[in-house]
């Protein structure tokens, strides 16, 4: 019953999206102008219906209603409730439904509150939003119906991929989706602005909170995803340049560029065409990333259910949405009048460097992700990894980070480096001392060396914009920028330290034997079998201690899931202020290496990673900076709305 209700709500939402598109488009003509009034309410109700459909899906998953095909394929009655619910979006159909739900709700919210832009631009924006949604509704209803029933009803479900049975991962995809979909609002604003040729500061200000919100979620999603890969995969790395990771990084790069260029457009009315293009590109990257991941044309550790027919459907959708938007951009951009001019050394100049560099890195990541496809089309099999991405990315990231240290202290329009020389001397000295110290230590490769010294230099540089300011009167968005830039410095130090100073050890030890990694001594006290609700595991009991301190117990596991059968390594982490100890239990050591049968040695993989948590701490700081900026913008908008109402009220009274 719930499944049918959900399906009905989905169909109705799709029909309303169609109405929203037609009414919004007709309202732009003189004859259809009267239709304009229904566009906003329709957008709002469409969002609510999509939400209803999504709640129905969660309901059937929570109940483990095995007569619904999606539940039978992806859930299991033995799973803990939280993972049953997370299972609703841990699969292709459910995640697509989540996508349209968030998109519908966001569109409804825009329709409800956004009153700054000229009404025709808003109608075009909402029509654009409906157009994109309609494609996804069609995809759901025709090619991936989440509510399809099964007959006969199976006795038990297939289970959820055990790697996905993890609390962090249950909330990782929704976070990224909020980011992707927030960018769809920016995309729609760009379409609306192009259709009505209203590209100005107002457009940037209306779009900015959405970009900011999307960017916060993307930042958090990427940070969480990176940490998840780090502790769950048990490989000890935190970024693998896997296509799925790249698929989330590319929209983030575009959104970061868009955020900065929208700031220029809002404050200085410059970079008009460029900002509109980034608005289109940022969401396009989200869709391209989703397509690459879902169509199965790229090989990745994240294997989603792969279906070529679905791939063709999404590709057609991409061609219509992105192709259409870029065509509109090309046709209209020439008629978008040029914005204000500015000098090379100025805040705008620094932000242009930021934009160009971010776009270049985006291009590098995109090329590296697609290159295996090119090669395969030519008949060769290659995989592109860190040896390409790291140096090529750094080529543009390093100058960008240098400019990032300088840019925020520059004035708008025109400035000189001499004026800021004194302030910038400190960060420059810190960087030089850092490089010198690392060269003296020796053995630090170039990229970690650059990362570490730029990271420490960015910390004083990032707080420079606060000098000569009354801290209590400093607007929140400035605090946000400072915090986010500080976060970049902190994350850089973590990355540099991790790759320069990590110690790794692979050993086979008997029970009771002690081994050493970095400053730690590790004793394998025992191996115990343990059982969970849907897995069995061997658990190593490790006593670890540093110096004379009391030992701490770490319990890494080697888990066997049985539905579906799969083995995973549950790493155990010990976090200290100056780093993390990372332990993975392998199987029993093979006799061939151990030199005899049954000698009872166990494989342990140990890492000591100095300052590695700074990577994710930095990511969280960056996102927090975004939150501060967003709060500042929203508060300013609210104040402005209240003020406007007050003025209107006074006028009304005086009129009497």
């Amino acid at each position: 019953m719930m499944a049918e209700l959900g399906l009905a709500a989905l169909w109705l939402a799709a029909a309303l999206a169609g109405l929203q598109l037609v009414a919004g488009a007709l309202a732009l003509t003189t004859r259809g102008a009267s239709l304009g009034a229904i566009v906003r309410p329709v957008a709002f109700v469409q969002g609510l219906l999509a939400l209803l459909a999504f709640l129905c899906l969660i309901w059937v998953f929570a109940q483990t209603d095995l007569s619904v095909k999606l539940v039978a394929l992806n859930s299991h009655s033995l799973k803990p409730l939280i993972f049953k619910i997370a299972g609703a979006w841990g699969n292709h159909e459910g995640s697509m439904l989540l996508w349209v739900t968030v998109m519908g709700l966001a569109g409804g919210f825009v329709a409800l509150v956004e009153r700054r832009l000229p009404e025709p631009t808003m109608l075009a924006t909402l029509a654009g939003q409906a157009f994109v949604s309609l494609g996804f509704y069609a995809f759901l209803l025709m090619a991936s119906n989440p509510f399809e029933r099964l007959n006969p009803v199976p006795v038990e479900g297939n289970g959820l991929n055990p790697l996905l049975q993890d609390l962090g991962l249950a909330f990782h995809p929704p976070t990224l989706y909020l980011g992707y979909v927030g960018l769809s609002i920016a995309f729609s604003f760009a379409i609306g602005a192009l259709v009505t040729r209203q590209v100005g500061p107002e457009f940037a200000r209306a779009m900015r909170p959405w970009v900011l919100g999307a960017w916060i979620f993307l930042t958090l999603g990427i940070t969480a995803g990176s940490y998840w890969a780090y502790y769950e995969l048990g490989w000890g790395g935190w970024w693998f340049w896997d296509p799925v990771e790249n698929a989330s990084l590319m929209p983030w790069l575009a959104a970061t560029a868009l955020l900065h260029s929208a700031g220029v457009l809002a404050a200085r009315d410059a970079l008009r065409a460029w900002t509109v293009m980034l608005g289109v590109v940022a969401f396009s990257m989200s869709m391209i990333g989703t397509f690459l991941v879902r169509s199965g044309i790229l090989t990745s550790v994240h294997a989603f259910a792969v279906d070529p027919q679905r791939g063709s459907f999404i590709l057609a959708l991409l061609a219509i949405n992105i192709g259409g938007a870029l065509t509109l951009f090309a046709l209209r951009a020439a008629t978008v009048t040029e914005g204000q001019r500015f000098a090379v050394v100025s805040r705008e100049g620094a932000l242009v460097v930021n934009n160009v560099m971010l776009t270049a890195i985006l291009g590098i990541v995109l090329f590296g992700t697609l290159y295996p496809l090119f090669a395969e089309a030519m008949g060769a099999k290659v995989s592109v990894g860190p040896p390409y991405f790291n140096p090529m990315g750094a080529l543009f990231a390093v100058p960008m980070l240098v400019v990032m240290a300088v840019g925020p202290v520059l004035r708008w329009r025109r400035d000189t480096l001499e004026r800021n020389g004194k302030a910038l001397a400190l960060p420059a000295m810190v960087a030089v001392v850092g490089i010198g110290a690392l060269v003296l230590i020796g053995g630090v490769p170039l990229l970690p060396l650059l990362g570490l010294s730029l990271g420490v230099a960015l910390i004083p540089a990032s707080v420079l914009p606060l000098r000569d300011r009354d801290l209590r009167r400093t607007p929140l968005p400035i605090w946000g920028m400072v915090l986010a830039h500080l976060g970049v410095g902190v994350a850089l130090i973590g990355m540099g330290s991790e790759s320069a100073f990590s110690v790794e050890k692979l050993v086979a030890v008997h029970k009771g034997e002690t081994t050493h990694v970095g400053p730690w001594s590790v004793t394998l006290a025992d191996i115990e079998p343990v059982a969970g609700p849907n897995w069995t595991a061997l658990e190593g009991v490790l006593q670890v201690s540093r110096g004379k301190a009391d030992p701490v117990i770490l319990r890494p596991q080697s888990r066997n899931f049985w539905a579906p059968p799969q083995q995973t390594a549950e790493s155990a982490l010990l976090t200290r202020w100056n780093g993390q100890l990372y332990a993975v239990l392998g199987g029993e050591a093979p006799g061939a290496i151990a030199g005899g049968p049954g000698d009872g040695r166990w494989q342990l993989r140990l890492w000591w990673k100095p300052f590695v948590p700074l990577i994710w701490l930095g990511g969280v700081l960056i996102a927090l900076g975004g939150v501060l900026a967003l709060l500042g913008r929203v508060a300013a908008d609210l104040r402005r709305i209240i003020l406007r109402d007050k003025i209107a009220y006074r006028r009304e009274r005086q009129g009497r």
Partner: protein, 185 residues
């Protein structure tokens, strides 16, 4: 300075560049969708004869496992297990059921001791006709098995017909029996 994308001297072609790049991408993606890469990994040993081996008895009073036994005209299940393997205990009832159904089950115990093995069989039941002791794991590797438990269906001519990775769950019993029947024909 104005950014290059806003300045007229870059020319109008630059404005079409994003679209051109996207068209290139779409063409490549469309091509790849029509020619999907084959990434499935088949078990390499399915269809191959069992490698030659002769394992000593793991328990006194019960024969070890010689690969020549597997070509004696009957279908056998070869179960790779160990007393220290937790999922092996989980699949034991299923192996019992298969043994009751008349399927001869041969065991290969990997890196085990007589004592631990006896305890394991006392606790979980004993479906095995023969148990070979694979103390250095070499036969396990030769069979293309990377973990325990794994189960092979070997037909009367000693050809491997199916490789089951991981423990046999109750709902998989019918599937395994079907594989055995298939191998009998």
């Amino acid at each position: 300075m104005t950014p290059p994308q806003d300045s007229p001297q870059v020319g109008r072609w630059a404005i079409w560049l994003p679209l051109a790049l996207f068209v290139g991408f779409a063409a490549l993606a469309a091509f790849m969708l029509r020619h999907p890469a084959d990434n499935t990994v088949d078990s390499k040993l399915v269809g191959q004869p069992v490698p030659q081996f002769d394992l000593p008895p793991a328990l006194p009073g019960r024969p070890g496992l010689d690969s020549r036994v597997l070509g004696n005209g009957k279908v056998h299940l070869v179960n790779i297990f160990a007393s220290w393997c937790v999922p092996c205990g989980v699949e034991a009832p299923q192996l019992q059921a298969l043994a009751r159904a008349g399927v001869p089950i041969e065991g290969i115990s990997v890196r085990d001791t007589t004592e631990a093995l006896n305890q394991f069989l006392d606790r979980n039941g004993d479906p095995y006709q023969r148990i070979g002791a694979d103390d250095d794991g070499k036969v396990q590797l030769a069979l293309g098995s990377s973990g325990v438990p794994e189960t092979f269906v070997v037909d009367g001519e000693g050809i491997i017909r199916y490789q089951h990775i991981g423990e046999i769950r109750p709902e998989q019993l019918d599937m395994i029996l079907a594989k055995v029947r298939e191998a009998q024909q």
